[in-house]
Structure formats: structure tokens, C-alpha cells
């Protein structure tokens, strides 16, 4: 039976004498299969009352007012249905079956979104560069029209990081305790497993968790939700994988009360070596399975769920704009090269997340319900990468391999330039011929110097033909230049083998392909009690418990022809003479003592057999939450409040006895014994190494033993409240307010967790707290509020929301290669303040029978509101600098990071789109969306904003070896005689406040030197390139015997906009030069060459399609 929207229905009246009240009941069924639709939301707009359908698709609403009503029926995967009804007083108003039509377009978009999100997991630990918002099918006009349409631009809801969003499955929390993020690869390709979900806007009252400032999503996987029958499908796409086949079977609810649903999905792509296409150099194999069984009793149901998707897929990387330009493609991938004439990608992710869940729901009576669930999830996640020792960097896009490297020596220091453009060296000698060669690589006459975009004089430093040759190699995609040279890698290892044999030595292979494992296992449980015994009041009590263990280690995938790998830290071996010479301290596992590459007592890895090396540690994390929520539903206003108490703990343990950590412990102890003052926070947390020393003293030191560090416990309260003022049935005003503290994630709590237990100073203060302030020193404090006006008319519906969130005392961890220390360093930032404020608006307007026009916009301002405190230490344990007065070695430097005022790089902050949808009752679907995105900003590198770079002295009083600028230019003097080298930026703006001094007597910076630190806008220069166009068309064909075929073609970025940057980051490395001379001028300084290590960018894919065909029977 065909339904027409907005048609007035005659409601059948049944005379039921015993019921002296007005009520409504009915059943919702699928148009194609005529089977019940479970979990559909039925809302009476004027009375603002809603319910959901049961396993039989039935619903009932009691205690209604007799009146004309608008009934809204919404269900995931179906077109929203709106019906006008007349409720008769004191009657059971029984409706005919309500038939919902499948929304095959949104189903396909969900599938694309799920895959996109998974593929965005780019880094070693499965962390997304810019994860797409996960919720697509939502009844909220704003959410349903932004989650897919804006995912290409990597829009993030309200500018939040994904770690504030809450992801649940059947009431169990599945956001990582280590990072706070949800692992989409667990459900890779399983579009049916992730089909049904509740998505709640930030801070709204929820019934499965306390929630927070981000969205809360609860996936519902009960088997009874799935329509009975088979569904098989195939999809083709030109994305990272090329094809997918899948099959789903669902039994429906059988006579014995059981329902079973199973899905298999296989996605694949062989290696692709067509340069310049999407997915270049990537292979992709993923087999997903999903099995759910549900037993339904009268008052209870039990759900048993398991799913997983063993996946192996290649990765690609962000590169610099120069590389994109040279290769002429935004799809260039530096991770692969030819081996034996075939493509081999060095970065292969292997992931598998088997998950089992048991959930039980029991209806005590009509007013009381309980839900309980337990789950276990083990996530194998690893990716491979080339590692090398005393050999050239194998990355083809390494900065020295690019033509721009030859411009490096050609940067003039603007502080040395006179108004006449003449230049002088440090002795005042005039450069007689000017600094620059006459022509650039294109033969363009540069005169005495070409003025670049930043006002500096530039030019390549090599012969034009040589330069052109290198450019040509890149432009023609020469395999040895632009891809990994596997042949030379093998050759280096075979040569090493030969030299070892000749010298009778055993040295480390020059290259290996290592695998970095970041597994996590988690067991969780939840209990939820709902009480509606009191009129107008619903009380919810929730208890959640979770234990997780992050498991981090490395193994070797391939020795690449090498005979063995010796597990030492190459940087430590090079930089710390004492480590290198005192057997074992450079070893990641000091049991394997070696000395100077001469075989003695060490144990090299001789085959890729899974032996762990490098690091092998675990982070144990526990969490228990109790939350309570009261919701009052009154005539004119709904109110709620909720309270939560959240206990969490973290504790690191190690199975490897890292020599560098032991070395630092020894230094600390020696200092302490010598009566020297040491920062207690620095050497706090060496409990594990005390155990090691004790074991050694007892002669019981052995490999494989677990040594457990200190546990850190946190207790964080949270409170939220909200009101929904019903101006009338169609217009609502909603207010939500939240305040909470959040313990740091384990990922951000340890400064160098691969090596030792050192935690943030704030955690040390927390652990030793004597005041409430100290107790919450490490926790981030958050306050948030939003105000929404919501309207719902037959022709138009939508909402406008204003939101504001402020956080303080956040923490973040970064790692990068530091050119001053010439080693890899970890930088932990704390005390970070952020503010998110903006407006969201959405309106969907019916245009006649077939068309709907939807406009959506989000404009925000997301920025840092404070500077950060940072601690920087070398991963290899080498000293960072020396104390300027005592000359004592300093292993950690502390400084201020000038973040205040910078924009957060969580996607575009200004977004708008217009979507025209077409739906024909003969089951044709089509839509076209035009989106505009702006105010997207580059992620800044904190290393470029350290205060010491501009003042010459860090907050901790240590000198910075190398500042910006020239010592004689614009110097000002501090109270202690410290000379500052830069006082104005390149635009001539004063950099310091009016002589406001910090604790070191150094003027406080107003803002830093712009050239190195400016926050770049990622928006395309041409405004037209800030637009993206998506379109889709679909058709559902009904066949006899409840069979159907659906076809959908979705094209993203239809206009093939290849200028759309979705994200990017500044490289943390700072350009340095050695001030050379016979004697006194030997010094390392930071140069003004801002593009020596330029930023790296992610681009939105060009035009790409996703074609799906699904057959149901």
C-alpha cells in the first residue's frame, strides 16, 4: 500500500469501553519486505511525545490529548515519514500498518562514511589524522545532512577532537581508554553491523551513558532489528579498495523467540601501481564477519554479538606541496616502490578486532527496566615501517631528495639587509657579487635576487641543468627517485653481510622492515536501571566498569636480506658516549648486552620470528563510572540533570629493561646520594627500575619479566543539566549546560612511555596532592553550554544552536626530530586551554511532492586560549643541554609554548551546504549537494613556538642553542644582561609587550616571529575551490515474492576539485645552520628559511564514485 506524505488519515475507531483514555497504537513495516521495522521512533510533534517500535514493529502511546497531530516516523535506513492524524478522545486510535520506504542513498552513504573513517587512520597507533564524524543516519536535520556531506572536508562536530565523543555498543563503552577514540576498523565493511544506532547531540540527556561535550553514539546490534531474509550485494569504487562483496542473512524473530543475523563482507584491492590515481601503491584485503543472536522473552531479551574484520591494507602519507606539485598529483604515495617488478608498500596495516558482547534487558514492570552488558574486545593493530641503522634515509620524499633543498643555502637573513638591498657578513664585509645566482630553474633571470612570497630573497643553489634534472626525475615519476628503492636496500644489507663475514663480526642490518604493534584488549561491563514509577519523572542509574591494557612492542617483518638486527638505539649509540661504552645502556633490553658491535654477549635477532624488540610495555587502565540522571517531562518544559563520578587509573609496566631508563635512574640516584638537588618529578616513577636493580642485585635479572611502575588514580566529577521549553508543539527552546573534569588519557600522560615511566609534572603533583587544587592539577576542566531553537512544521523543520565550550589544563604529547639536540625528542604539553564557540543551523524545506531543499551551516571559532607548559626530553636519554651556570647536564628542558590565540586544527570552522533531494514514490532517489568550507587551519608545531626560540632562554633558565635572527639586529637587553635577538617580526611588528618581564627577567612575548610560526589557512586560494559537489542517484526495484534490488551510485567531489586541502601539519623540525669560522663563530643557529621543512598536507580525493547493487530475497 502506497503512502502519501501529508495525507490526512482516517483513523479507525475501536470502541473500547474499558479504556477511558486517549491512546494510539500501530505497527511499522518495511515497504519491500512487509516485515516489521524494529526500533523505529514514532513522535507526536504537537504533544512532544515519542516511543519506539518493538520486535514486532508495534508501538503504542498512552495518555494522549485528543487533537489533530503530526506523527513523525523515523528509522535508520528509511525515509522519514510524516503523517497527519486526528486523535479521538477516550479512544484507542489504531492505525493501519505504517509502511516505511528504504533510504538506499543514506544506506550507501553510511557505508562510504564508515570506510572513509577507517581509512583515515593514518598513524602508527591507528589514530586518525582527522577522523570523520561517525554518525550519518540521524533524524536530526543538522546531523543527517552534515555527517556525510561534510566528511570529505573532514568536518568535526563543533571542532572537537574525536576523543571527546562517546562510542557505545549495546551500552558498553568502546572508546579507547588510552586515546579516547573509537576504532572503526573493528567494523570494517560491516555496514549492517553498524546500521542501527542512537546518536545524541552533545550534552543531551541520554539513557546509555552520562555523555559529554561531544556526541554520544550507541550502536544497537540485536538480531531482531534486522529484516528477515537474505541480502547480498556488490560494490565497486575507485577509492583505496576497489570492490566489495557482502552477504547478510537474518532469520527474523522465530517461533522459539530467537533471532539470528549474520553478515560477511569482503573488501579488496590488489596492489595498484598506476601512478597518480586514488589508492596508488595500496593493497587492501579485509574480511569482516558479524554474528548476532537474540532471544526474546515477554519481559526480557538476551543479545549475543560477535564481529571482527581481519584487514591488511597499505597506507599512504601526507607530503609537502612541492611533492604534490612535482608529481602533478594529489594521490602521490611515497610509501611504495618496485621489488621484483612488483609494487611493494612499506607501510602495511594489519588489524583484527574480535569483539564479543552479551547484553541483557529485563523489564521489571511497565515502569522499571534494567539493562546489563559485558563485553571483551581484543584489537590487534600494527603497521610496518622501514627502520635503518647507519644508512641513508630510505624515504623518497625526504627533504634532501627534493629540488627545494637546493634553495636552502640561498636564503638571505633579512636582518642583515640594508635598505639598499646590499648584504654584509658578520664582519661587516660587503658581499661583492650579491648572494644569488642569476637564473632560477626555469631560466628566469633573478637579477640580484628573487623576492619570495615571504619577502626573502631566494634562488636555487645548484646548476640549472642539475636542478632541472632532479625536477625532471620527479615530474616523470622516476622509480628510483620518487619511490622506495628496494633494490638498493637489499644491496646494502647483502653488502653488510659480506663485510661481516670478511671481518668476522656481527653488525646490524642496515635496513629492516619492522612492525609496530599497538594492541589493546579491553573488558567492559555496564548496568543501567530506568525507573518511571513517578509521574513525569524518569530516573536512570548507570554503572560502567572497564579494564583495558594497551600493549606496545615491535617485531621484525622482514630482515630484507640482512643477517641480523641488533637491538640498540641508534641515536643513543651515537650521542651518548657513556651509554655506548658502558655495555648495554643503549640496548632496548639490557639483558642483551653488547659492546660496540663486537660480538660478546648479545643476542641479535636473526629472523623475523615475532621476537619483540625496541620496546615492550603495557599500559594498564581501569575505569569505573557511576552516573545518575533525572528527567522530568512536563507540559511546557522538560528538565533533566545528571551527575557522574568517574574513577580512572593508569599504570605502565614493561617487559624490557631499557638501558637508557636505567641509566637515567642511576644518574638520579647518584645525584641524590651526592646531595644534589633534583627535580622530584623527573625521577618520579622509576619504581619499575628499582625492581630491576633489586633483581640484578639478587642475581635474578632475566628477560621477559614484567616490571610494574606506579599506578596513578584519578577521580573526576561531572554535572550537566538541561531544559526543553516547549513554546508550542512546533517550536522548542533547549538549553544544556555541563561542567566536568577529565583525567588525562594515558597517551598524553607519559612523556616518553616507550622508554620509562616519567609522567607529567601535574600527575606528580596530583599523586602527592595535599590540596584539592593539586589533586585536580592533571585533570582537564571543561564547562560547556548550548542553546537550541528547534522548529518542526510540515513544510519546514530544523534548528539553530549556539554553543560555547571552554577547557583548561589539557595535555598533549608530540614527538619529533629536534635539530638542536640532533635526536628524536618527546614534548609533553600541559596547561592547555581551548575554547569552542559557534552556531549550527539547519532547515529542510519541502518543495512540492518530490523535492526537498536542505540548507545547513556551521560557523565557529575554535582556538587555544592559553599558552602551554612543555617538557622536552630526548627519546634516547641524552642530555638536552647544560645549565648555563653550573654546566650540569640537563636531561629535560621546560619552556612555554606560545599557543594562545591559535586556531585548533580540527577541520574547517566555517561550513555551509545546500542539498536538493528528490524522491519519487516509484522508488527513485537522487540528491545533489553543494558544500562550502572555509576557516580550516594548519596544525601548528609546538616546537616552532617555544618561547626560548625568541628570547634565547627557556622558562627553566637554560640557554637555547640557536635563536631566530641575528645577534646585532634589533637586540634589546633584559635586566640580567641577556641579549634578545629579535624584537620585531618580518612585518615590522613589535614582538614584546611593554617590558613585562617573566621570572627570568625576559620580556614576555606578545606573539612570536611570524615567518616561522604563522598559522597557515588551508582554504584554497581561489574561493571556487572551497566548494565540493556530491551527488547520488538510486533506484529500488521491487520483485515478486518480497524480493528487491537496489542500485545506488554515489559520486563524491563531482567537480574533481583537486585543490581542496582537508588538513595538514607543520613539521616540527627547525631549520638550522652552522655559523662557521675558524674559532669563535662556531655556533648552531636557527635560520629564517621557513620552508626547509615545509608543512605537509592532506587533500580531499578528487572525483570518486561508489556503486552498490544489493539484492534482497
Amino acid at each position: 500500500m502506497r503512502q502519501k506524505l501529508f495525507s490526512l488519515m482516517a483513523v479507525l475507531m475501536l470502541s473500547v469501553a474499558v479504556m477511558a483514555q486517549t491512546s494510539l497504537k500501530g505497527r511499522v513495516i518495511d515497504d519491500a519486505t512487509q516485515l516489521p521495522v524494529v526500533g523505529a521512533k514514532v513522535t507526536l510533534a504537537n504533544q512532544n511525545i515519542s516511543t519506539t517500535t518493538n520486535a514486532a514493529g508495534e508501538f503504542s502511546l498512552l495518555y494522549l490529548e485528543a487533537m489533530d497531530e503530526e506523527m513523525l516516523i523515523e528509522a535508520d535506513g528509511y525515509v522519514v515519514d510524516l503523517q497527519l492524524i486526528n486523535l479521538l478522545e477516550n479512544q484507542v486510535n489504531a492505525m493501519d500498518d505504517i509502511v516505511l520506504k528504504q533510504d538506499i542513498v543514506s544506506q550507501a552513504q553510511d557505508e562510504i562514511l564508515l570506510n572513509l573513517t577507517e581509512e583515515e587512520m593514518t598513524d602508527d597507533e591507528g589514530r586518525s589524522q582527522s577522523q570523520a564524524s561517525s554518525s550519518s543516519a540521524s533524524t536530526d536535520v543538522f546531523n543527517s545532512n552534515t555527517s556525510f556531506a561534510w566528511s570529505t572536508a573532514r568536518y568535526r562536530n563543533r571542532g572537537y577532537s574525536s576523543n571527546v565523543e562517546n562510542y557505545y555498543i549495546e551500552g558498553l563503552n568502546f572508546s579507547s581508554q588510552e586515546r579516547g577514540q573509537f576504532n572503526y576498523s573493528a567494523m570494517g565493511g560491516l555496514n549492517d553491523a553498524s546500521r542501527y544506532k542512537e546518536v545524541l547531540n552533545p550534552m543531551e540527556a541520554t539513557n546509555f551513558t552520562f555523555g559529554g561535550i561531544g556526541q554520544s553514539t550507541n550502536y544497537m546490534m540485536g538480531a531482531s532489528r534486522y529484516a528477515q531474509g537474505w541480502k547480498v550485494g556488490a560494490a565497486g569504487t575507485n577509492r583505496n579498495y576497489k570492490a566489495r562483496v557482502n552477504a547478510t542473512y537474518s532469520s527474523g524473530v522465530m517461533n522459539n523467540g530467537w533471532a539470528v543475523t549474520a553478515q560477511l563482507a569482503y573488501r579488496f584491492s590488489p596492489y595498484v601501481d598506476n601512478k597518480g590515481i586514488i589508492g596508488e601503491g595500496i593493497k587492501y584485503y579485509s574480511l569482516g564477519y558479524f554474528l548476532t543472536a537474540e532471544k526474546i522473552w515477554d519481559n526480557a531479551r538476551l543479545k549475543l554479538i560477535t564481529f571482527g574484520a581481519p584487514t591488511e591494507r597499505g597506507q599512504n602519507a601526507a607530503v609537502t606541496q612541492e611533492v604534490y606539485d612535482l608529481t602533478g598529483s594529489i594521490n602521490y604515495n611515497p610509501y611504495w616502490g618496485y621489488q621484483d617488478g612488483k609494487v611493494r608498500n612499506s607501510r602495511i596495516v594489519k588489524s583484527y578486532d574480535p569483539t564479543v558482547i552479551a547484553a541483557y534487558e529485563y523489564k521489571i514492570d511497565e515502569q522499571q527496566k534494567i539493562k546489563a552488558a559485558v563485553g571483551y574486545h581484543y584489537s590487534w593493530y600494527s603497521n610496518s615501517a622501514l627502520n635503518f641503522f647507519n644508512a641513508p634515509d630510505p624515504r623518497p620524499d625526504y627533504y634532501r631528495n627534493l629540488p627545494s633543498f637546493y634553495w636552502d643555502g640561498q636564503i638571505a637573513n633579512p636582518n642583515n639587509e640594508t635598505s639598499a638591498g646590499q648584504l654584509f657578513d658578520e664582519n661587516g664585509n660587503h658581499y661583492p657579487w650579491g648572494l644569488f645566482i642569476g637564473e632560477d630553474m626555469k631560466g628566469v633571470n633573478l637579477g640580484s635576487g628573487f623576492v619570495g612570497d615571504d619577502g626573502n630573497l631566494v634562488g636555487p643553489s645548484v646548476d640549472k641543468d642539475m636542478y632541472n634534472n632532479l625536477v625532471h626525475l620527479w615530474q616523470t615519476r622516476d622509480n628510483k627517485t620518487t619511490q622506495i628503492d628496494w633494490e638498493n636496500i637489499y644491496a646494502a644489507n647483502y653488502a653488510n653481510n659480506a663485510n661481516d663475514a670478511a671481518r668476522d663480526t656481527i653488525t646490524s642490518a642496515r635496513y629492516i622492515l619492522e612492525r609496530r604493534h599497538n594492541d589493546i584488549q579491553e573488558a567492559n561491563a555496564s548496568f543501567n536501571y530506568v525507573n518511571e514509577q513517578f509521574d513525569h519523572l524518569r530516573m536512570t542509574l548507570g554503572v560502567e566498569g572497564k579494564f583495558s591494557q594497551g600493549i606496545h612492542y615491535k617485531t621484525i617483518d622482514d630482515l630484507l636480506g640482512g643477517n641480523q638486527w641488533i637491538d640498540i638505539d641508534a641515536f643513543a649509540d651515537r650521542d651518548i658516549k657513556e651509554l655506548a661504552s658502558n655495555g648495554g645502556f643503549t640496548q632496548a633490553d639490557i639483558i642483551n648486552v653488547r659492546k660496540n658491535e663486537v660480538a660478546e654477549d648479545y643476542d641479535p635477532i636473526v629472523k623475523a620470528d615475532g621476537r619483540r624488540y625496541g620496546y615492550d610495555y603495557r599500559i594498564n587502565m581501569g575505569n569505573a563510572k557511576v552516573w545518575f540522571q533525572n528527567e522530568w517531562t512536563l507540559n511546557e518544559v522538560d528538565l533533566y540533570y545528571a551527575l557522574q563520578l568517574n574513577y580512572s587509573m593508569m599504570q605502565r609496566s614493561t617487559n624490557m629493561l631499557n638501558g637508557r631508563a636505567w641509566y637515567q635512574t642511576k644518574i638520579a640516584k647518584e645525584k641524590a646520594l651526592a646531595g644534589e638537588e633534583i627535580d622530584p618529578a623527573i625521577y618520579y616513577g622509576h619504581k619499575a627500575y628499582d625492581q630491576i636493580e633489586a633483581a640484578q642485585a639478587a642475581g635474578q635479572l632475566k628477560s621477559g619479566t614484567t616490571y610494574v611502575g606506579d599506578a596513578h588514580h584519578f577521580l573526576d566529577p561531572a554535572f550537566k543539566l538541561g531544559a526543553n521549553y516547549k513554546i508550542n508543539g512546533r517550536n522548542h527552546l533547549k538549553l544544556n549546560v555541563l561542567a566536568e573534569t577529565r583525567a588525562p588519557f594515558a597517551r598524553d600522560a607519559y612523556i616518553s612511555q616507550r622508554v620509562y615511566d616519567r609522567v607529567l609534572d601535574q600527575i606528580y603533583a596530583h599523586d602527592n596532592a595535599k590540596s584539592l587544587k593539586d589533586f585536580y592539577a592533571a585533570s582537564e576542566k571543561v564547562v560547556s553550554a548550548d542553546l537550541t531553537y528547534e522548529f518542526n512544521y510540515p513544510i519546514v523543520r530544523g534548528r539553530v544552536t549556539g554553543f560555547f565550550t571552554q577547557s583548561w589544563d589539557g595535555s598533549e604529547l608530540n614527538g619529533y626530530y629536534d635539530d638542536e639536540a640532533r635526536t628524536f625528542v618527546n614534548q609533553a604539553m600541559s596547561g592547555i586551554g581551548k575554547r569552542y564557540m559557534g552556531i549550527e543551523a539547519a532547515a529542510a524545506v519541502k518543495l512540492g511532492t518530490y523535492f526537498t531543499l536542505t540548507g545547513v551551516a556551521s560557523v565557529g571559532d575554535y582556538r587555544y586560549t592559553t599558552d602551554a607548559n612543555s617538557i622536552t626530553s630526548a627519546e634516547n636519554g641524552m642530555p638536552m643541554t647544560q645549565d648555563k651556570s653550573t654546566k650540569a647536564l640537563v636531561f629535560e628542558t621546560k619552556d612555554k609554548v606560545l599557543l594562545k590565540g591559535l586556531k585548533l586544527s580540527n577541520g574547517p570552522q566555517a561550513n555551509a551546504s545546500l542539498k536538493l533531494s528528490f524522491f519519487h514514490p516509484k522508488m527513485w532517489f537522487a540528491d545533489v549537494t553543494v558544500s562550502y568550507h572555509d576557516w580550516n587551519f594548519l596544525s601548528v608545531a609546538p616546537s616552532r613556538r617555544m618561547q626560548g626560540l625568541y628570547t634565547g632562554v627557556r622558562v627553566d633558565g637554560t640557554d637555547v642553542n640557536g635563536w631566530f635572527g641575528d645577534e646585532n639586529a634589533n637586540a634589546i637587553e633584559t635586566t640580567d644582561g641577556q641579549m634578545l635577538r629579535v624584537t620585531v617580526d618580518e612585518a615590522g611588528n613589535a614582538m614584546y609587550e611593554n617590558a613585562v618581564l617573566d621570572a627570568n627577567g625576559v620580556p614576555v612575548l606578545k606573539y612570536p616571529y611570524n615567518l616561522m610560526t604563522m598559522q597557515e589557512s588551508l582554504a584554497a586560494t581561489n574561493p571556487l575551490n572551497r566548494f565540493l559537489i556530491d551527488a547520488s542517484v538510486g533506484k529500488l526495484i521491487y520483485l515478486p515474492n518480497r524480493q528487491s534490488v537496489s542500485i545506488n551510485l554515489s559520486v563524491t567531489n563531482l567537480g574533481n576539485n583537486t585543490h581542496f586541502k582537508t588538513g595538514g601539519y607543520q613539521q616540527a623540525r627547525l631549520p638550522r645552520a652552522v655559523r662557521q669560522g675558524e674559532k669563535d663563530y662556531q655556533n648552531s643557529i636557527i635560520t629564517a628559511n621557513a620552508w626547509k621543512y615545509p608543512s605537509k598536507y592532506y587533500y580531499a580525493w578528487g572525483a570518486n564514485f561508489f556503486l552498490t547493487v544489493t539484492y534482497k530475497f
Binding site: P392, G409, D463, Y490, Y494, N596, G1077, Q1082
Partner: protein
């Protein structure tokens, strides 16, 4: 129903089976990555076709393509002022490009360097034996830790078309033309101009083939005393083309110097001083009695003076990046360098002559310390290039600087 299940199971299984079994690249063997001598001619013939090719001896290569003036200078880009002696026509720096097209220009040799001494970080020396005599050439390559890929004893053949040959501080090398305007250099204004630059890494990899596996035993070492050495090379060469040519042909030569000892002295910016500083880590530790104290990460070379029983001297050069940088000089210990002269033996290394200031040559200001030898290692660290015994015939046992022992 059952038939349908089978049908779709088959549909699912087929692509799975087909694609899971798709071939991964096989592991490369030595035969895949090293060129065999027997097939070299054929490879070069195919590479050059009708244009033909020639493999030059190293000295022949220099004589053919390296000019005194070099071709990279003009009115707008003149000579490097500091290194040009107009009176004698001496150019300590030069660059000449090699034809990009035409017949293939090849050189081949066996690598004699590694990076244990920290002085050949982005450079290597290849050796060719012609009529029993060494010919050597430096190659400047912009590959960090290049010795990890192009290893000691590895024979390589390089197609030089499109590259350049030149001199850097009078040291001949295969290179590319590079324009130096390092504004951070001391006396930077004198150093502006074209000079040999490092060949970009991927360009070098593309131009180079490895012939067979490395065989360091085939490297020839000339064994001689310092006195012998100075009969073959001029301590202070004459400021003319002949003097310079003789020096250039000796650059890169691998020698084993007999009957030498460390004097416990170093060159402090032109003045020979005793190595009497105790802490090689300190800023003023340049005179520490180890091979190469810290330069606070600047990385400039460090030298320690060798002597014989007579008056012959030669600098032994390395850098703070040497694996043996903080090892005490033979005979030195925490008490100083008084015992250095008691240890005598051999030092094996690469000979070099470095001078970038032409006026020193022209004005007869050479002090003889332009010559140096760079050893590759000490016993226990890399190649055993320093082999000494004390007066009781006990071998020198290398010992690393230990700050704690120093304080005892």
C-alpha cells in the same frame, strides 16, 4: 534455499581465493641487486646503444674533464675570491660539468672509506689499481650515512654524464656544481661562488651500479714510513700547476704509515698545542687527549698530530662523530699525554691535502699540516686502522674517556 546459499558462498569465495593468492614480490637475491662482472659490458652496451661508452681510469678521467679554472665562473658569478690566486693561476676550487648526452662516461673503483671516522659522512673515496698503482677519487654524495649503502670494499661503476668534476679545497671529486653563499660562514663574503657540491642522493643511486659483493681484501694499501711519504709528496707544494697536480693525484690515497706515534698535540687554529684538556665534552675541550672532542654539535674536523722518531709530522684527522672520538690517544690516559710517545706502530688511513685559502699558498704560508690521514677505526671499533705497541711490546688497548675515572 540451500542452492542459493551455495551460490552466494561461491560468489563470495571466488574473489577471496583469487586475490588472497595474488603474488607478493619475492625476496631479492644478491644476483638481483649486484651486477656481475661478466654481464657488465652487455649492460653498458644496452644502456648506451649507438652512442658507445668508455670506462675511464680515475686519473685519466681527471685529466680529461677537470680543468684548472673550471667552467663555472663569469662576470656575474666570479671565482671564489678566497681560493683564487691570479698570480700563479691556481684555483683551489673548480667545477666542470660533464656532457649529459653523447657517449657514456664511466668510472669504476672500489670504495675505501666508511664513516667510522666521521669524516666521510656524505663522501666516499673509490680506488682503482692501474698498473699496480693506486688511483683514487673522492665522490661527494648527499646521502646521510652513505657508507651504509655504499660500503667499504664495494666496487661500483658510475655513469658520470650530467654530473661534474671539480676541486674543493684542492681535493678533486666527482660532484655537481653548487653555488655557495653560506651567509653564516666566517668571512662569508670571500667564500661566495661556485664550488663542488654533493650529488643528490637519488641521482647518484640512479647513476651507480654495484659490481658484486664488497671485498675489502682487494683494496690496496701502500705501506710506508713518514719519511718515505715525504719523498713521494711535497710537504709544502709549490704554488704552480705542477705542484698542485702532484698534490691532487695523491689525494685519497690509502696508506699504512709505519713507525709512527701520536705526539699528544693538536692544531689549535694554526698553533700546535699539547692535548692537556681533561674534559672532551666541555666547550673549551678542544684540546682533550682523545681523538676528537666535542665541537658542541658543530661537527668540524678534529686533528691529532702523528710523528716519527725523526722530525716528520702528519695530522691524523677525524671528527666528533667518529666511533672512536672519545677514546684516549694511544698512551694517553686521565693523567695526560706523557706516555704517548711510548706507543708506536702503524696508522692506516686516507691521505688528504686540504687548503681553501689561495693566499697561503701564494705567500708561502703553508705549515705542512695541510696534509692529513684519516683512519677508519681502532681495534674493536670498525676496521683496525691503528695498531700500536708500547716499549714492552704490549699492544695498545683502546680505552674510552670516562668522566668518573677522570675525577678519581
Amino acid at each position: 534455499m540451500r542452492k542459493s546459499i551455495y551460490t552466494y558462498a561461491m560468489l563470495l569465495a571466488m574473489p577471496v581465493i583469487a586475490l588472497m593468492t595474488s603474488c607478493e614480490p619475492r625476496e631479492l637475491t644478491e644476483d638481483d641487486v649486484f651486477v656481475q662482472e661478466s654481464s657488465l659490458d652487455q649492460i653498458l652496451e644496452e644502456e648506451n646503444g649507438d652512442q658507445g661508452y668508455k670506462i675511464y681510469d680515475l686519473n685519466e678521467f681527471l685529466d680529461t674533464f677537470m680543468t684548472e679554472e673550471g667552467s663555472f665562473h663569469s662576470d656575474t658569478c666570479p671565482y671564489r675570491e678566497r681560493s683564487y690566486d691570479a698570480t700563479h693561476g691556481i684555483y683551489l676550487y673548480s667545477v666542470d660539468t660533464l656532457p649529459t648526452n653523447g657517449a657514456g662516461i664511466y668510472i669504476r673503483g672500489r670504495i675505501t672509506t666508511d664513516d667510522y671516522a666521521g669524516n666521510f659522512y656524505k663522501a666516499m673515496v673509490i680506488q682503482q689499481i692501474v698498473n699496480g698503482e693506486q688511483q683514487n677519487l673522492r665522490i661527494s654524495v648527499d646521502l646521510g650515512s652513505s657508507a651504509g649503502m655504499y660500503q667499504l670494499g664495494q666496487e661500483i661503476i658510475i655513469r658520470c654524464n650530467g654530473l661534474a668534476v671539480g676541486r674543493y679545497a684542492n681535493q678533486p671529486q666527482l660532484c655537481i656544481p653548487s653555488y655557495n653563499n653560506n651567509i653564516y660562514a666566517m668571512n662569508a663574503s670571500q667564500k661566495v661562488g661556485w664550488c663542488p657540491g654533493r650529488i643528490q642522493g637519488s641521482v647518484f643511486r640512479k647513476a651507480t651500479r654495484m659490481i658484486g659483493t664488497p671485498d675489502a681484501k682487494k683494496i690496496q694499501v701502500d705501506e710506508l714510513t713518514l719519511a718515505d711519504l715525504y719523498t713521494q709528496i711535497a710537504l709544502k707544494p709549490t704554488a704552480d700547476a705542477a705542484g698542485m697536480d702532484a698534490v691532487r693525484k695523491m689525494d685519497g690515497r690509502l696508506v699504512r704509515l709505519k713507525d709512527v706515534h701520536f705526539t699528544g698535540q693538536y692544531d689549535d687554529n694554526g698553533t700546535i698545542k699539547n692535548c692537556d684538556t681533561t674534559d672532551p665534552d666541555s666547550e673549551g675541550g678542544g684540546g682533550a687527549n682523545v681523538f676528537a672532542p666535542s665541537t658542541q654539535n658543530i661537527g668540524y674536523p678534529q686533528s691529532r698530530l702523528l710523528g716519527d722518531q725523526g722530525s716528520n709530522k702528519l695530522m691524523c684527522s677525524s671528527s666528533e662523530y667518529a666511533k672512536f672520538a672519545y677514546y684516549y690517544l694511544p698512551g694517553a690516559d686521565k693523567n695526560g699525554v706523557t706516555n704517548c710517545k711510548n706507543y708506536e706502530g702503524t696508522v692506516t688511513g686516507i691521505l688528504g691535502w686540504y687548503l681553501d685559502k689561495a693566499s697561503d699558498l701564494a705567500q708561502g704560508k703553508l705549515d705542512g699540516y695541510e696534509w692529513s690521514v684519516t683512519p677508519r677505526g681502532i681495534p674493536g671499533i670498525g676496521v683496525m686502522d691503528i695498531d700500536m705497541k708500547d716499549t714492552h711490546d704490549e699492544p695498545w688497548v683502546p680505552k674510552e674517556y670516562d668522566p668518573k675515572a677522570q675525577q678519581e
